[in-house]
Symmetry: C2
Subunit: 339 residues, 2 copies
């Protein structure tokens, strides 16, 4: 009997549930708003109702391998206990895994959403394309997520908190971050950061176009800043060069520390690759000694002993797909390795 | 029959060769100057002569498990080919492993010297004391070395170049580094950096004591700066606070990325722990989100689920001991893991 698994992407706005085969074929999916205002138990109930609904449709003809849930971090793994999540008021200390299992009546695997995205990219995206065993992914969205795959497994560290390069400080006393630190990558390379830096650019009198948008709408999106940059607005272009500079500094640290064959940049902001990548690579070539020794000749050079830094191949649903891959990955590891 | 192995520490000034048992008992040792002026083949010959001399003395009563060589990096592993080593003119591209094996007539294991030091600290130092499976070590000497142990093995990355956090950029457009980059940890947390920063402090009129030493001797050592700091010289104290600030920034990156239970600071400069550690921990607490969530209550808290950052337990010969442990570690791994 063919098998499927169910993945859940628990976002602050949307709750997405979908069934996939191991070969990335999407069988069923449900997307509903995350009812944060109704409280955490209501969200867990919604999630479990959707999982049951999908499982009921498919069971009989297909075997359910398991359920994987991608959650915003920080969370403790494998216990699945949440810490303080900035966008989930009242969830601090919530035993997410325990509570889902109680309602669902079956075990689930919990994973940090950025780790789930890295697993998806590893199994079905650029990792598969290049045949690597290890990769590091940065997901540039509202915040900056980070997931690390070492020797075909998610690297969790001691408590599941590995892969928080989004909160690595890159400038002492730099921009204050929601995490409590200062100068984190997230403050320079997220969609939120692009909006903030665009505002600063307008306030410094460096972009009339951005100033005009702010005057009418009060805010400017990362996408709009990218459009202005593409249209030649120098202030908007400078914002994306700043994104590239800090991505270059963060990747310099990651390349020097881990020496992996592949680093992947995903998330919504990755669509502006052409705007930030030139600066990012310039910083890497100057400031990362290991990158300089291992850089590919050009974008077409696929030498497996070079350090490749590429945009993600999978789109915005990589976290959902990765969550669904967790039960398959666990089963494959159990087969591949002795207990 | 009991067994021993031979370790080699190839330094720019001294070449040290010693035989150890697995239990860290030193059986024989030879220390000679590294004759760089005589050329690389002469150095390899000196090394192999000393290895043969020690092996001859011990063989018969003890079994030789193997030979491990710690070399300055960057080098390619496991091939043991050197890249450009700043203090070894003419060694660029040298096939160190191949050439040693040719003269010695037996296989050797080559390792980056900072990785060897991390292995020693793991097997016989603070790693053993705390019973961890993983650790990250920074060795603050003339430069800053870095070695990472994940799940009881040295993490080499793709080409043996992992663990180069000493050259991770911490300040964009910061102090130029011998590696070609700018603002590397090595420029703020090595003995060389302390001397340079002390000179800058004197030039800025912030320490008459340092200025006096520079006027008479032309240079000031990291040890002398530490003595002045201990005697209350404010300029000298500030230099070590700067060491702590950049160590704190680098460790913030490493803690956030790897989430290991133990980070070890070794090398000669670690003896000034009391001068830099307060600033280092202050930066970690403010700027590393994962450290803040996992910091021990105090220095006596040995909770294994906390992030511990400690001075190395082993002294200046950890690189030599670690090199000698390489053949034992390889044998134990071969027994522990299926091929």
């Amino acid at each position: 009997m063919n098998s499927f698994s169910i993945g859940v992407d628990l976002g602050g706005t949307n709750l997405r549930i979908a069934a996939f085969t191991r070969a990335q074929e999407r069988l069923e999916s449900i997307a509903i708003p995350t009812r944060l205002e109704a409280g955490k138990y209501a969200v867990v109930q919604d999630m479990c109702d959707a999982i049951h609904e999908i499982a009921k449709k498919l069971r009989g003809s297909l075997e359910l391998v398991g359920v994987g849930v991608g959650s915003p971090g920080p969370l403790q793994l494998p216990s699945g206990k949440l810490y303080h999540l900035p966008n989930f008021p009242g969830w601090d200390g919530f035993e997410l895994k325990v509570e889902i299992e109680k309602v669902l009546g079956m075990p689930v695997i919990i994973e940090n959403d950025a780790n789930a995205a890295a697993l998806a990219e590893f199994l079905h995206g650029s990792g598969k394309q290049r045949g690597v065993d290890s990769l590091c992914m940065l997901t540039l969205g509202t915040g900056v997520g980070n997931g690390i795959i070492l020797n075909r497994r998610v690297w969790h560290g001691m408590l599941g908190m590995a892969g928080e390069a989004g909160h690595g400080p890159l400038e002492y006393d730099g921009a204050p971050c929601g995490c409590g630190g200062r100068g984190c990558l997230e403050q320079y390379a997220s969609a939120t950061a692009v909006s903030r830096m665009a505002k600063e650019t307008a306030e410094a009198g460096q972009s009339e176009a951005i100033a005009h948008i702010l005057a009418t709408r009060g805010t400017v999106s990362a996408r709009r800043v990218a459009q202005l940059a593409d249209a030649g607005d120098e202030g908007a272009r400078q914002v994306y060069r700043t994104v590239g500079k800090f991505l270059g500094l963060s990747l310099s640290q990651l390349v020097n520390t881990l020496n992996l064959p592949l680093y992947v940049v995903g998330g919504g902001l990755a669509s502006s690759w052409h705007l930030f990548a030139p600066t990012m690579f310039a910083v890497l070539l100057r400031d990362s000694y290991v990158y300089r020794l291992t850089a590919p000749r050009d974008e077409l050079d696929i030498n497996p002993l070079c350090t490749h830094i590429v945009p993600a191949l999978l789109g915005s649903e990589s976290g959902l797909l990765g969550a669904a891959m967790l039960p398959f990955a666990e089963r494959e590891m159990a087969v591949a390795l002795p207990s």
